[in-house]
């Protein structure tokens, strides 16, 4: 094929049919309010970590729901669990618990003494 000096990028569309809810359902079981998220972005607006980086609760949440786990663990490590997002969420989503549980699941973190 002729090299034109540019190429057509891969589609950036997310195929909702490819949703992988296996792990996400575990989160919803523990944090039922996660379903209420309308991705309004209030959490990102106040986020302490987003002040320094491009950390984004909605993106992390959405990726987890789609089963796109590559590099998600290191993305989650940016969160400081300060809890501001939770105070502001207009839908009462327990964002802290969502992040907390995602972290536990992805890092296979376990307790020292239990």
């Amino acid at each position: 094929m002729k090299n034109w000096g540019f190429k057509i990028p891969d589609s950036r569309t997310l195929d909702l049919d490819k949703e992988d809810l296996k792990l996400y359902n575990k989160i919803v079981e523990k944090v039922p309010s996660a379903r209420r998220c309308i991705m309004c972005g209030m959490c990102s607006a106040t986020c302490s970590a987003a002040n320094h980086t491009n950390f984004n609760f909605r993106l992390v949440h959405h990726k987890f729901r789609m089963g796109m786990f590559e590099s998600l663990a290191s993305e989650l490590d940016k969160c400081m669990l300060c809890g501001k997002c939770r105070m502001l969420c207009p839908r009462g989503v327990n964002t802290r618990a969502v992040i907390y549980n995602m972290r536990i699941i992805l890092d296979n973190m376990y307790y020292k003494n239990i």
Binding site: K30, V31, P32, S33, T46, S48, N51, H52, T53, D77, K78, M80, L81, C82, G83, K84, M87, L88, G92, N94, R96, A97, Y100, R103, M109, Y110, Y111, K112, N113, I114
Partner: protein
Amino acid sequence: MNYNPFIIPFTTGAIILFAIIIYKFIAWYRKLDKKQRFYLRKNILTFKSIEAIKESFLEALIHRNIYKKNLLLGYMHMSLAFGWFLLIIFGKIEASLHAQTLFEEPWLAIFFRYFVRDEHKFFMSEIFPPLMDFLLLVILSGVLLAWLKRFSSSLLGMKKTTRHSKFDKIALASLWWIFPLRLLSESSTAALTGNGSFLTGTVGNLMAVLNLQYFEIYFWWAYSICLFAFFVSLPFSRYMHIPTEVVFIFLKKWGATAGEEYSGYTDFQLNACSRCGICIDVCQMNFAANIQNVQSVYFIRDTRYKHLKDETANNCLMCGRCVEACPVGLELTVIRQQLRNKKEIAGKHYYDYTKPQEADKKYDIVYFAGCMTHLTPSIIISMKKIFEEAGINYWFMDENKGTCCGRPMRQQGFIQQSKDLISINQKLINSSGAKTLVTSCPICYKSFKEEYVLDIEIKHHSEFINELIENNKIKIQNSQKSIVYHDPCELGRGSGIYEEPRNILAKVGNLKSSEFEKQNSLCCGGSLSNAIIELEDQIKIRNHALENLTACNPDILATACPLCKKTFVHGNKAKVMDIAEIIAENISLQNQSSKHKEKNKIKTKIEL
């Protein structure tokens, strides 16, 4: 030798009991960490041991702290513990006097009335039967109260009691029957031989309708078997607290503290819990949000039997109300934190992305607002006004790109992440060269005090403002508004600051007291320590707290924590203000103008 086969269950039970207790104590002792062992060795031969004996007597036998909760409840515990203790001691003295040796058969004291059937003829022998009868009567009254408590706990001042496990029920049932059976067996012997006193003698006369020649031995057998059942179930049930509490009191007095790591001292504490259930009634998760399986008593139980669930460990506000209420004085929140901690991954570092901006010059005071204060900008504006009014050379450390203090991470058990955040902030604070660090957030305050290694004074803004007022750096006027103060958990119970905020508020308004204040204050429900509680339950806790705090319809509900403020504001019950806001509002204008005049005077002097 005084022997009858019915002593066998008792003796075997006692041997098993002591063997297990000694085995357990040695195992826990070996798990104590270096620091705890150091204190133990250092203080074992000091005055502290005598204090520990006194405390053991007051707590383990008299149960002074339970009397504070309810008189009847205290009496119930005292009659069983102290009564039984005296019964054992006097029984031993009686048996030794009779046998004229200190080393008589160990079971003789327990079954004395059966073996010594004649009238006592030894030194002071006539005192013992009525004394022993009296003690038995005291214990039986305690048992009666314990039975009543099962039917209606509110009679003894408890709204809810602990739900017991099977082993506890076996131990409890045998404990309930030990003393009635002792009464029956001693009475039957008394009826046959006449060696009883006012209680056993009377009951014996009533029992004489039975063929006691035949039944007597069976009563003694039942008594002995009951003792066996209790002794064998004791180390595996809640009654393990009887021996452990004493050891725990000694360790505590010698200076042991529960650190970050689970250690043998934690094991002692877990087993010193008697599951009395006093922590259930004070827990807001119970009475406000109706969540029944996470209270400290269940947490301690599940940890001890090693079936602790993630939810039980984490669904707790860590407000510390149970720690204040616990009659044994267990460090419940510290233990919960130990269990929440997660394994660290060696060599991993977090938050490399932050680019801390160090101080550009030297300052007198560093101000750290904290994440939550950034959600309540009015506190920041007020603090700025106060700093400027007092003419302080301060550095607002996290004005633009601040990081979290690390406590929320720590409380969820992510110790490693917390340490990384701490080192970032420590560097920044040290760069300013300041002598004082002021923070507006009690959560950060506690973190700075306990987890940071800083060479400067750390003050919450309520302490700081109090000092400013006392040193006349700022002048305030009294607004005559009625104020109720809500103690934030981390500032009050967490750090012991109760008086400074009250001092300030009494000067700017009409400070009213509420039912829940100081050590008994409520949590607003927004606690960061609980990452998993759902909003609906938080709202229940918040509304309950608001209702109680605003019972006297104050103009202002004051608090000293941005998180409490934010949580209460959503409740729409009263005007919620932080202490800093109230002060900033009431800084006296006269003073301001005079200060400006003074400044101008100085300026003119310099110019001249």
